[in-house]
């Protein structure tokens, strides 16, 4: 397949994942803003930082982290290249470029997403309507994901799209941890003592895992356990370990069908082996913040290597 097409499938998947993640971040931020108006502004700021859009927001609106303004910026501001609307548009552009490599069902799902969100986000969303709009965004994303796994051939194109999904997801989970890591530090919440209830729930909600956590760990809430859940727990589909396994599976399949040793395969394996095959206590020992910073760097380097190895661009 064309390198450009591989790149388009990869970026389509990344952008779709990003739109879904951002919808989840807005949802979590919105809950806090509703229930704790005193911390709303700092919460919105941390949502913007997690989404990598704080700088752009401050350029446009200064330090005025008002709910309505932040939500509008994240959802639909045409001047914000990372707004959900812009990101879905770019996902669709990439899908159009790679149109010949996807089934009609997948293309129509992506195209329908773009049309639906375009209509939903035409005007500023009223606070009352926000939960419905966010649900619609998640529904569109699920629709694409479902048709993708249900109709796509399991060939190299599929592998590139999956790589995009899991690179983006790993990046997102790591960023959430990065922004909130101070809440998880033992100095703030000693092992055994509980951290701020609403705060931990926000973290779990932003990865759609607050129920899964309880199901797994019961009612005991500890910083160590949350970190373990999000970093190392392999059955959790947004954990770093899960994402890395998926990336390595897809890189392995590419290696097998191309019969070619790629540097990206080695790098992916190294991330799992050197960073994610150790107990959570040892990660805390080395410093959670340092761990996450290092992971984000390695993940980004892997992304660049994939683009090079598979000739996305010249």
């Amino acid at each position: 397949m064309l390198g450009k097409t591989a790149g388009s499938l990869y970026w389509m998947a990344r952008y779709l994942e990003r739109s879904e993640n951002n919808a989840r971040l807005i949802d979590a931020g919105f809950r806090i803003a509703l229930t704790r108006s005193s911390t709303a502004r700092s919460e919105w700021r941390s949502v913007l930082v997690t989404a990598g859009q704080d700088f752009a927001f401050r350029q446009a609106h200064g330090e005025d982290y008002i709910s309505q303004r932040v939500v509008d910026f994240l959802l639909r501001d045409p001047a914000n290249p990372s707004s959900i609307l812009s990101v879905v548009k770019r996902a669709r552009d990439n899908a159009r470029t790679a149109r010949t490599y996807m089934t009609r069902e997948v293309w129509e799902a992506v195209n329908t997403s773009w049309m639906t969100l375009g209509a939903l986000l035409k005007r500023q969303v009223r606070e009352d309507d926000l939960p419905d709009v966010l649900a619609a965004i998640r529904r569109q994303s699920a629709q694409v994901g479902g048709t993708f796994s249900g109709t796509m051939l399991r060939n190299d194109g599929y592998n590139f799209a999956r790589l995009g999904t899991f690179l983006e997801r790993a990046d997102n989970t790591a960023r959430i941890l990065d922004v909130k890591y101070y809440l998880l530090l033992p100095s703030v919440a000693h092992i055994g003592s509980s951290i701020d209830n609403v705060q931990w729930e926000t973290i779990l909600r932003s990865v759609s895992a607050h129920r899964a956590y309880h199901w797994l760990y019961g009612t005991e809430i500890s910083a160590l356990k949350i970190a373990e859940f999000l970093i190392l727990y392999k059955q959790m589909p947004r954990s770093l370990a899960f994402c890395c396994d998926q990336m390595n599976d897809n890189l392995g399949l590419l290696q097998r069908s191309y019969g070619e040793e790629a540097e990206a395969v080695r790098m992916g394996t190294a991330i799992s082996r050197d960073r994610l095959s150790r107990p959570i206590a040892s990660i805390f020992d080395g410093g959670l913040h340092e761990f996450i910073t290092d992971f984000l760097r390695a993940n980004a380097a892997l992304a660049r290597q994939i683009e090079r190895d598979y000739r996305f661009v010249e």
């Binding site: 470029t97 149109r99 129509e108 010249e314």
Partner: protein
Amino acid sequence: MLRGKGWRIHFFDEMTGQGGEVRSPYREYSDWFGREDTARIQRKTQQAEAFFRTTGITFNVYGEDEADERLIPFDVVPRIIAASEWRRLSRGIEQRVRALNAFLHDIYHRQEILRAGRVPVELISRNEAFLPMMMGMDPPGGVYTHISGIDIVRTGADEYYVLEDNARTPSGVSYMLENRETMLQMFPELFAKISVREVGDYPLNLLKSLAACAPPACNGTPTVAVLTPGIHNSAYFEHSFLADQMGAELVEGHDLRVVDGRVAMRTTQGYTPIDVLYRRVDDDFLDPLNFRPDSVLGVPGIWDVYRAGAITIANAPGTGIADDKALYSYMPDIIEFYTGEKALLPNVPTWRCSEPEHLREVLDRLPELVVKEVHGSGGYGMLVGPAASKKEIAAFRAKLEANPRNYIAQPTLSLSTVPIFTKAGLAPRHVDLRPFVLMSPQGIKITPGGLTRVAMRKGSLVVNSSQGGGTKDTWVLED
């Protein structure tokens, strides 16, 4: 001197003739329609629109916001052509396409037709569409116009005219295919009742036809690719549709480079050579080294690969000289010169404004004529005399007098009508027809029917999609 035939006030309707009884090709459809609930058809029309939107069968209008993708209106009433009518049309089309190819070969080799004085030399030598670099070139398989579209209008039960030839990169075939697909989904019962000739094998025929023109450098199964300017091009949907249906790669200029004397595409595993490139970019943009240096749509050096016989470019560069509007009026001579036969499908009588005598007559009769720019397309920059105001005519007269060689004029044809579905029932609208013709060393293949374009506005004679025209499914009946 040329004389228009005198214009009828009434138009020929393909369903009811001169407004009388339903003509035989439409009889079964008309019976069916009479029994149908119009509310149901109304609903189907809306479904069709939603279908086109989700499928992404849209086009971008140049100069407008890129987010503004438009639908070409689709009308659910088919345009129906009898088997005997189609036989006659297709013979004429085939003759015309053969002549166009023979003309192109001649014009880029010995130029016999110029020596014989049948076409004026300056019409070629001063023409921007003429590509001197093609002189002496033999395109693989001897084919210049792999794909052409011949625009035909009907003016009576037995009267057809060729309005223009499209020998560069005619578009619209994806609409022909999707229109049929839509009709099959909406009204399957109609196709069970009425035997309509298939059009869905066009992509496969296109692939076969292109592969049959593979260059000498090709060994094994030819690799075919479609070259598109990219997703912002107005016909991008069609480019990706055709590539998809053929199972060919859809490439852009930046996917390609010359490697070891071949044009190759960048794949995830390195560069792979292409044998046949179905390009949907204009000649000018093909090769920044040999044509427009600012082009980013083409491939630097492709021209040299082409000359060395290591790639087929479809259509061949330089075919624009054959569909130039200034040459159009010579087509009857061109057909006779190369085939030894009279043209089976007549040209529309045409005044060449570059000739003083013609110009004088055109200026005299401006309110009744259609005047077109020689190099224009898409229905832009033209005057439809009978539909224009006095002021518009006066303004156009000034333009025409200032630069007469830029224009040709034709009588306002009484284009036939076919009914469209409106809320008030069936209503006649003017149509034209673009059949698509494939040519390879194995022969000429014409898809039965083609794309019917329809002026959706009452009384309008302009069918171009850029001017609010729509399309219809076109049925050629089985014998």
